[in-house]
């Protein structure tokens, strides 16, 4: 099972908290909204990813578990 991140674009209002906490994985576009790749989250970042999802002010960052 791999961990994937995705954004609910309607709830997201571009706070940028996720990119601060997980800069190795999430970058911000020119308007402050997160660009979240579809790749699985590397093992060493999984804890940080969970923290980023908990820290999102609008709970727009979601964690999916997918079978590979």
């Amino acid at each position: 099972m791999s961990q994937h991140l995705r954004v609910n674009p309607i709830m997201c209002t571009g706070h940028g908290m996720c990119a601060e906490l997980l800069p190795e994985f999430i970058t911000l576009d020119p308007w402050g909204y997160p660009i979240v790749p579809d790749e699985p989250v590397p093992d060493e970042l999984k804890g940080l990813a969970r923290r980023a999802a908990a820290a999102c002010p609008t709970l727009a960052l979601l964690i999916d578990r997918r079978r590979d």
Binding site: V7, N8, P9, I10, M11, C12, T13, G14, D29, P30, W31, G32, Y33, I35
Partner: protein, 446 residues
């Protein structure tokens, strides 16, 4: 004109006149076809009054879905999803279902749904009744834009006459939606009927599982339902007599631009774009490019477009899009980049306003295209467009931003040489001509 000569079958017009019209067979001039005239043209609705959902009724419903599946009917709203499969999955859902007919034609360049609803409402309503029977629905809605009061009134009258005549088991409720571009999207309509705003939603659940009032909901384009009404009467083999094996049947197309007789035409699937142009009176000027699929579609250079068969597969094979059967012909003297810039500006103003990348990205894209079309000589507008597209595509809750980026990307591709010219030397003469693509409320945008 060499472009027109390729792939137009010599007997096309004769065969066309012989085999068609099918959907539009009962069409009258000037007023909608009433219930009696409709039944004279097509026969009565082949649906006996079923008592509840007994086993025999469910078996009949299942057989109807079998017929639809065998006919190969696909959605005529743009996505082209197999209708039988959709009905089957809604019917399999838990509890009583809901049928929603989507007649909220948001595309400015499309008029086919309006034609069907204003002239042949009973054909569409027959389709709704049949779909409701097939999936076991207890509620049915017909969604149209609320701007057109006369259309709303005539549809209400038609629905009422059916109830009086005892035809409809499930009364059809007419719903007037916003006339925004995004309001005609499937999840937007469902949310509107549920009492929310007419805006697309971000739900991983599909409407066929949880739609109106959280019940399995079948959302179909009104033209698809009209075809359903005929398939139920004449059978799947009849439907497959025309068209192609992989894309059977007929479809309605809206043709506009630099041709002699713009309008809505019924064609067999597989008809080439050139043949459709001939039906529409032929180009009035040497054609430069064809916009296929509407404002979420793609531009094709004319010589590429002419021999392409009108079907989802046919258009996809050349990187085009079928969409809701929309064709626009751009003449040689017009500027495709200017037309695209206007459309993107319109689409930027039509966002639901819910997702940042779309709300901010589309105006930036519109600015870049306007720079390219009207204010060249900056040497980088095309690059800016190319850089913006991956930042916008796929990052919204609905396909609105994707449609716009697809249009912009296809414009850069089809008008690539023009784009280079504009970047280096500024606007071409074509921008001075009056614009051709219909953009509602144009004055606001420029």
């Amino acid at each position: 004109m060499t472009v027109v000569a390729t792939r137009i079958r010599p007997d096309y017009l004769a065969r066309h006149a012989e085999r068609l019209p099918r959907l539009l067979a009962g069409l009258t001039v000037g007023q909608p076809v009433g219930l009696n005239a409709h039944e004279r043209a097509f026969g009565q609705l082949p649906l006996a009054a079923g008592e509840g959902r007994s086993r025999s009724v469910r078996a009949k419903a299942s057989r109807l879905i079998d017929v639809v599946e065998r006919s190969g009917l696909t959605g005529r709203g743009g996505a082209g999803f197999p209708t039988g499969r959709k009905l089957r999955s809604v019917a399999a859902g838990p509890g009583p279902a809901v049928v929603v007919a989507n007649g909220a034609e948001g595309e400015p360049a499309s008029r086919k749904d309006h034609l069907l609803l204003s002239r042949m409402p009973h054909l569409v309503m027959d389709g709704i009744a049949l779909a409701a029977f097939a999936v076991g629905a207890t509620e049915a809605y017909l969604a149209v834009h609320d701007e057109d009061d006369r259309l709303l009134a005539s549809l209400e009258a038609a629905a009422q006459s059916r109830i009086v005549a005892g035809i409809d088991q499930v009364p059809i409720q007419i719903v007037g939606t916003d006339s925004r571009y995004v309001a005609s999207e499937q999840t937007a309509i469902v949310q509107y009927i549920n009492g929310g705003p007419g805006l697309p939603t971000f739900t991983p659940r599909r409407t066929h599982e949880r739609g109106v009032a959280n019940r399995p909901t079948a959302v179909n384009n009104v033209e698809t339902l009209a075809h359903l009404a005929l398939i139920a009467r004449y059978g799947d083999n009849w439907f497959r007599e025309v068209g192609q094996p992989s894309s059977p049947g007929t479809t309605l197309v809206t043709v506009s631009g630099a041709i002699a007789r713009p309008g809505v035409f019924e064609i067999e699937l597989g008809t080439t774009i050139g043949e459709v142009m001939m039906l529409a009176g032929g180009p009035v000027e040497r054609p430069q490019a064809v916009l296929t699929g509407g404002y979420f579609g793609t531009w094709l250079p004319a010589e590429v477009a002419w021999p392409v068969p009108m079907s989802h597969a046919g258009l996809r094979s050349v990187g085009g899009a079928m969409g809701a059967g929309i064709l626009f012909v751009l003449p040689e003297s017009s500027c495709g980049l200017a037309e695209t810039a206007r459309v993107i500006r319109y689409l930027a103003g039509e966002t639901a306003g819910q997702c940042g990348p779309c709300v901010f990205g589309l105006p930036a894209l519109a600015d870049a295209l306007a720079d390219l079309a009207y204010h060249g000589c900056r040497g980088d507008a095309a690059d800016r467009i190319g850089g913006l597209i991956p930042l916008i595509e796929g990052r919204g809750a609905c396909r609105h931003p994707d449609g716009a980026t697809q249009l912009a990307a296809s414009a850069l591709s089809a008008f690539g040489r023009d784009a280079q010219w504009h970047d280096e030397r500024g606007p071409c003469y074509g921008v001075r001509f009056p614009p051709m693509l219909p953009v509602p409320g144009d004055a606001e945008y420029w």
